[in-house]
């Protein structure tokens, strides 16, 4: 790909902002509640603007029952219920609440993989890990997501910001943000679950606003120059050491690692401190970047921390397709779907 090649992409007419996918991640819950109160104007383009149609922003509270109980989930983690298999497969017996809900959300925002799906899903999350603001996406070549990330970085220089890439195929993608044609989770920490910290809420509010502003700029024809972006690609997880019988953890994240998300972890660096005071060290053979260090919800998933490789990704200049380009693209998609 030539650096000065311009990639033209379809306009983003429908954007979904989702909060409360985990009912105890409160910044997103309160932010979407506030957005739902705003009748018109701030978030949506007014009709006097030059573009053909206003941007449609759907505000969604994803897991109302979990929110009501201030829990991550009621029966099962909603943010793992969006694989094609879960959305479309047959069910028997009692269906978990979150599976019913994921199908409702897929009908509302999708269907996943089809032309009727919303153009962009921004799913709001909090973490107990010291991760700052992260956009988490399945792709390292979704130029929309990567340009949004760069825009947020420029507009919010005081907030540490990273782009995390989970290398999962579209077939296997499992989270709410995979329902839209483009999507990412906006993850901000540290914030305890069940708490709203004003600095985190304010950062999330600004992040969402800048993202929607970018979409409007994009739709109105702005050219976004290509550049290079640091991308963190998840390689593996490390679990806590556990007792073989009870499976209870036998060590805590080492004090030297605690809160040091995205600081390089080298072979032999401390990982855990056992309850008898022994240091357990990282035994990998390359330095990697840890994140989701000591995330509360991951104890039950067997994850003490995740590790990523960092690399520079070159993103092209992009702009919105013209009407003619859009028409040709739609034609192309229609014939693809028929096949």
């Amino acid at each position: 790909m030539e650096v000065d090649e311009v990639v033209c992409l379809p306009r983003l007419s429908r954007v979904a902002v989702c909060g409360g996918t985990h009912g105890n991640e409160l910044s997103g819950v309160y932010l979407v509640r506030e957005l739902l109160k705003v009748k018109k104007g701030v978030m949506e383009k007014e009709e006097e603007q030059e573009e053909e149609e206003p941007l449609s922003v759907l505000k969604v509270l994803s897991n109302p029952r979990a929110m009501q109980q201030c829990r991550r989930y009621v029966d099962t983690d909603l943010n793992r219920c969006f694989t094609h298999a879960t959305l479309n497969g047959l069910t028997s017996g009692t269906v978990p609440y979150e599976m019913i809900r994921s199908r409702e959300l897929n009908a509302m925002l999708g269907p996943k993989g089809r032309s009727g799906a919303v153009d962009l899903v921004c799913d709001l999350h909090n973490t107990t890990a010291n991760m700052g603001l992260c956009l988490i996406a399945y792709s390292d070549c979704d130029w929309i997501c990567l340009h949004i990330f760069r825009h947020l970085q420029r507009k919010m220089p005081d907030i540490p910001m990273r782009y995390i890439h989970f290398e999962v195929s579209n077939k296997e993608s499992y989270s709410l943000d995979s329902v839209g044609k483009h999507g990412f989770a906006m993850e901000i920490g540290p914030q305890p679950h069940g708490v709203v910290r004003s600095n985190v809420y304010t950062a999330m509010k600004a992040g969402v606003q800048h993202m929607l502003d970018w979409v409007c700029f994009f739709n109105s024809g702005t050219l976004f120059e290509g550049e290079s972006v640091d991308v963190f690609t998840m390689i593996k997880h490390i679990d806590y050491p556990r007792d073989s019988e009870t499976r209870n953890i036998t060590a805590a994240v080492h004090p030297h690692l605690q809160d040091r998300d995205f600081c390089p972890l080298h072979p032999e660096d401390p990982l855990f401190q056992t309850f008898s005071g022994e240091t357990l060290r990282y035994k990998g053979n390359e330095p990697l970047y840890p994140f989701f260090i000591n995330e509360c919800a991951y104890y039950e998933k067997g994850i003490a921390l995740s590790l990523a490789r960092k690399r520079r990704v070159v993103i092209p200049t992009i702009r919105v397709q013209t009407e003619q380009e859009q028409a040709a693209h739609v034609q192309e998609l229609a014939s693809e779907e028929e096949e």
Binding site: P192, G194, R197, Y201, A252, Q258, C296
Partner: protein, 313 residues
């Protein structure tokens, strides 16, 4: 306990308990007690039997604060004498069981000391919670602990407020001691918080051992923070929270809050200020579990309590 002027004779503290998991998602206490149930060597002291005990095993299993109702509010006289057995809420049944083993509350058979281990999402550091300003044994213990960990800090919160005081698990004992360490998210184990709690308990048990061996402790002054009132979040007509703890107040537990200082920030960016008549010392600022209890923080005032000299009977 008998008091003669500025001195008190206290019976030896032969039976001590350490409660963990009163709230099942406060991980330092759960972890420490599980450790000590497996191997109690670290908590052994001469002349004292120390029993580690998980008070709310079902909540610990679920990693939630409670199952039916808050165990740390459940030790009311009504609950402790309620008939109904298995039909009672789980935590009321647990409270009755704990009262049988470690109480009965208010009787001579009750355990001498109970340490109840808690974590908070608030930036409270190490805090000892005292339920009575007249418990000279506890005051002397807290003085000992504070001196032992200096220059690290351990503050004392006194909750003797007739309306705000609540019926805690530890209240079954003659000398109840709450130990609250934060900040730590619920469900998370932070190494520094865990170790801090462990060190406080070590000094507490050392004190008991010294006391039981006959050491006399002279009168001393102990600075405490006395609970004044509970301040709720601003809410709308439907009871929904409409503002957050202000960034100037967030994490500022124990620092003076003056009339006119920022207190809350509404979701649309307006500052709400403290309207009290004088300076107070807020704590339990933004504790996760207190959203449902209508509490954004509590205000306290600083006081110096005088602890009588104590020695064993």
């Amino acid at each position: 306990m008998s008091s003669c002027g500025n001195s008190a004779r206290v019976t030896e503290a032969r039976r001590v308990a350490i409660f963990g998991g009163t709230h099942g998602n406060e991980m330092s206490g759960v972890t420490l007690v599980n450790l000590w149930v497996k191997n109690a060597a670290e908590i052994q002291r001469k002349r004292v039997e120390t029993k580690p005990f998980i008070t709310n095993p079902k909540a610990v299993e679920k990693c939630s604060r409670y199952v039916d109702t808050d165990l740390n509010r459940a030790f009311t006289p009504e609950n402790l004498s309620a008939p109904g057995g298995d039909d009672l809420p789980y935590e009321v049944q647990q409270a009755q069981e704990i009262n049988r083993i470690f109480g009965p509350k208010g009787s001579p058979e009750a355990y001498d000391v109970v340490f109840d281990l808690h974590n908070t999402t608030s930036n409270m550091g190490c805090t000892l919670i005292l339920e009575s300003s007249k418990d000279h044994f506890n005051l002397q213990m807290m003085n000992y602990i504070k001196k032992a960990i200096a220059p690290a800090s351990c503050l004392v919160l006194l909750n003797e407020h007739p309306l705000l005081k609540y019926s805690t698990s530890r209240s079954v004992a003659k000398h109840p001691v709450g130990l609250e360490v934060g900040p730590q998210p619920q469900g998370v184990l932070r190494s520094n918080i865990f170790e801090a709690m462990r060190v406080i308990l070590k000094h507490a048990l050392d004190f008991i051992e010294l006391f039981n061996e006959g050491m006399e402790f002279p009168p001393c002054s102990v600075e405490v923070f006395r609970v004044l009132e509970r301040i709720d979040y601003p809410r709308d007509a439907n009871g929904n929270i409409i503002a957050m703890v202000h960034p100037n107040l967030q994490d500022c537990d124990w620092e003076p809050l003056n009339p006119g200082d920022p207190m809350f920030l509404t979701f649309d960016g307006k500052t709400i200020r403290y309207q009290g008549s004088g300076t107070v010392y807020p704590t339990f600022i933004n504790e996760a579990a207190y959203y449902e209890k209508q509490q954004a923080f509590v205000t306290t005032r600083r006081e110096a309590l005088v602890a009588s000299a104590i020695g064993k009977v």
